[in-house]
């Protein structure tokens, strides 16, 4: 068999992982073997986090809408019922944004659905 050197393939593989480990503390960003463990952990967490992010934001919007609506004496659930009955298709993100940024528009929506 002819002699084959591996060349720089191993270095490229390790550099790919080390690039993902930028900003990690201590040797987790400089040594390949520890960095690889932390990178795998980080990718696992980010996968889960991407799915949790959608849930967390919806929770936040619902809490904010609840707070905004209770000033007028109704609850979040009653508001949702009214919106469904009046066929207002606004989603919770927009409702929460309106309640914070443009309160007059939010009030107008409330009055239109009673």
């Amino acid at each position: 068999m002819t002699r084959v050197k591996r060349g720089n393939i191993a270095r490229k593989r390790r550099k790919k992982i080390l690039k993902l480990a930028k900003g990690f503390r201590g040797t987790h960003s400089s040594l390949f073997r520890t960095a690889k463990q932390q990178v795998l952990k980080a990718m696992r967490y980010s996968y889960v986090g991407r799915k949790n992010k959608k849930r967390d934001y919806r929770k936040l919007w619902i809490t904010r809408i609840n707070a905004a609506v209770r000033i007028y004496g109704i609850t979040y659930s009653q508001l949702m019922r009214r919106l469904k009955q009046s066929q207002v298709g606004l989603n919770r993100k927009m409702l929460a944004q309106l309640a914070v940024v443009d309160n007059d528009a939010f009030q107008a929506i409330l009055e239109a659905t009673i």
Binding site: L60, W61, R64, Q97, V101
Partner: protein, 143 residues
């Protein structure tokens, strides 16, 4: 406009005054915890504090329904064998009346660094006076 509104931590403190005279313990504590957490504000953000300080006066006159005055027990353990200590509501109210409301509200706040910080924002006084007149608190009237 299309991104969810994220407020900055506001520096202004708001002070509120609540009279606990003849209020039911748990029902009062939920309202206190809600205001502390900031859940009544439209700009609620889970990792920021509302910067609202709540003064509670007349903690001595808090009320419980039913037989709880003589039957509700507060239990703690000193860590040593045989160190279980029990106290009824009446005994604790005679000894340290502020602790009743503090314990009740603390159980309703989130557990963690932010919850502990929120707990420092309530000031409980058993009598009718409080030393925070300079903060001119807004009075919250319940029911």
């Amino acid at each position: 406009m299309n991104k969810t509104y994220i407020p900055k931590q506001n520096i202004k403190h708001k002070w509120y005054l609540i009279n606990a005279k003849n209020q039911t313990l748990g029902r009062l504590s939920t309202k206190i915890a809600t205001i502390l957490r900031g859940k009544n504000e439209v700009s609620y953000t889970p990792y920021l504090t509302n910067q609202s300080y709540i003064i509670i006066i007349n903690a001595q006159s808090i009320v419980l329904t039913g037989q709880k005055k003589s039957q509700k027990t507060y239990i703690r353990h000193s860590g040593r064998p045989g160190g279980l200590k029990k106290e009824t509501f009446e005994q604790l109210q005679a000894r340290i009346p502020n602790r009743i409301i503090e314990k009740s509200v603390k159980g309703m706040l989130p557990k963690g660094p932010l919850g502990r910080k929120l707990f420092t924002q309530i000031k409980v006084y058993s009598g009718n006076e409080h030393p925070h007149i300079a903060q001119s608190p807004d009075i919250i009237s319940l029911n």
